[in-house]
């Protein structure tokens, strides 16, 4: 998938059951976004879980208490069994969301997905115009296809969210991105800044915005929220590397979400595989309940017991949950350190200096997300 989910579920739900599952059906994708939240080591098609296993996973996660399922990838529509999976999700009462780049599917397939019970579509845009969109996504003609796709979504009366990942190379178009979302009659738009992990970490010198860009972006969003009230809901995911306090980790690590990778690894978050010090249980080797309740990866940072000082005695510990484990690992080398985005972290200045430096790195070249590049990066 190309987006970085915000994880902004409401707080106040008692822990104990996951609220949502991210089903990453495949890592195959026609696009090659340089900030993809998939791990650098992409799974081959041959490693993917089969239909029956996914059907069981969907049943088990509904049984565990989840209310929503996000079908993601890679590009989830490259799976031919998507209809079957959506139908099952519907049957067990899960609200289903398709997270797509919108370049593979015409109106016929979309209509068969809608008939299967799809509730919502989230469509990614890499920029507000063709040249940038196609260059950043590494897919020629993609922008036009996305516009067509959005039309089909509207024709079928499915609700549409536009997802825009923003960074140094497209932030100048933020206003036209918002306009595009309005033109497409999206109910919602997600404006998400890239964070430091996965492919985005590899490409950070080409992606990192300057502080001035970030401040301007925040102004634009605040103004647009007022102006577009009742027309477009704007979800804005701010980056925290220029901030004093970290972003909340998805309502707490292992408290509201679980993510199943194409090969069946069950993860507390979509980026968790970037923490190479953790190992992850696989479905169906163990049941989802067993993994949710007892696996090392979920227990490692669930709640507050694992926390070091200053988090342990901080009054924000159940607000931000100590920030992002993936970012802590990427920057400090240990996932149980305080997130360096927090001003109370000893590495905070390092992070800020790194962001400064990356934002002025000068090179706009991307390392595109392909399996081959991933393998090379792994070897390096």
């Amino acid at each position: 998938m190309t987006s970085q989910p915000s994880g902004s579920e409401p707080s106040g739900t008692p822990p104990g059951f996951p609220l949502a599952i991210l089903a990453e059906l495949t890592h195959r994708c026609p696009l090659q976004c340089p900030y993809c939240s998939n791990p650098v080591a992409l799974e081959a098609a041959s490693a993917e879980l089969d239909t029956d296993t996914w059907l069981r996973a969907i049943e088990e996660v509904a049984e565990l208490g989840a209310l929503q399922i996000h079908f993601s990838g890679g590009e989830p529509t490259s799976r031919k069994d998507l209809e079957t999976l959506i139908r099952k999700a519907n049957e067990v009462g899960l609200y289903s969301n398709l997270i797509t780049a919108g370049v593979l599917v015409g109106e016929d397939r979309l209509s068969s997905l809608a008939d299967a019970g799809l509730d919502h579509v989230q469509l990614s845009f890499q920029d507000s115009e063709a040249a940038g969109c196609d260059r950043i996504g590494g897919f020629k003609g993609g922008f036009e296809k996305k516009l067509e796709f959005a039309k089909s979504v509207n024709a079928l009366d499915l609700p549409l969210t536009a997802n825009m990942v923003v960074h140094r190379q497209n932030l100048a178009n933020l206003e036209t991105m918002l306009e595009l979302a309005v033109e497409l009659t999206a109910r919602r738009v997600e404006i998400a800044h890239v964070q430091y992990y996965g492919w985005a970490y590899v490409n950070r010198a080409a992606l990192m915005p300057t502080r001035a860009q970030l401040e301007r972006a925040t102004e634009i969003v605040e103004e647009a929220r007022e102006r577009l009230k009742g027309i477009l809901v704007i979800d804005y995911v701010v980056p925290d590397y220029y901030a004093k306090r970290p972003k909340s980790c998805m309502g707490g690590w292992g408290q509201q979400f679980l993510n199943i990778s194409p090969a069946g690894k069950v993860l507390p978050c979509h980026a968790a595989e970037s923490i190479t010090s953790l190992s992850f249980d696989r479905f169906p080797d163990k049941s989802l309940r067993e993994i949710w309740e007892t696996s090392d990866a979920f227990l490692a940072y669930r709640g507050t017991d694992w926390m070091p000082e200053p988090c342990r005695s901080c009054d924000r510990r159940e607000i931000d949950w100590g920030g992002c484990r993936c970012q802590a690992f990427a920057i400090t080398g240990a996932a149980d350190n305080v997130d360096p985005a927090c001003a109370l972290s000893p590495e905070h200045e390092l992070l800020q200096a790194l962001a400064q430096e990356d934002s002025h790195a000068g090179s706009d070249d991307f390392l595109y997300r392909t399996r081959r590049t991933g393998l090379e990066l792994q070897d390096a």
Binding site: Q68, G230, V233
Partner: protein, 95 residues
């Protein structure tokens, strides 16, 4: 182009496609499920939302609630409009 919907006494509210009212048995609560969102409904909000079926208008809904809960209609009306305007602005209700 979409325009902002103003909820008035004559609006006929409904849940649009993609928004679902559901009982969440694990957590023993009613929720509205919407794209990337979940709204927990308290008992009053639930009674209001249950009546948003694209049939009754706000005036009729307020009447019905005022009778069912023996409450003054003007107070009920204010609450209904406030809640439904808020949901409309969040794009999870239409009218």
């Amino acid at each position: 182009m979409t325009e902002r919907i103003e909820i008035t006494e004559t609006s006929v509210p409904a849940l649009p496609r993609g928004v679902k009212l559901r009982f969440d048995k694990q957590r023993d609560q009613w929720v509205l499920l919407a794209p990337e969102r979940l709204f927990v409904l308290d008992s009053i909000a639930l009674e209001i939302v249950k009546r948003c079926k694209g049939e009754a208008n706000i005036d009729e809904i307020a009447d019905d609630l005022a009778t069912s809960f023996s409450a003054p209609k003007d107070v009920v009306m204010k609450d209904v409009i406030a809640l439904l305007q808020d949901l409309t602005d969040k794009r999870i209700l239409t009218a």
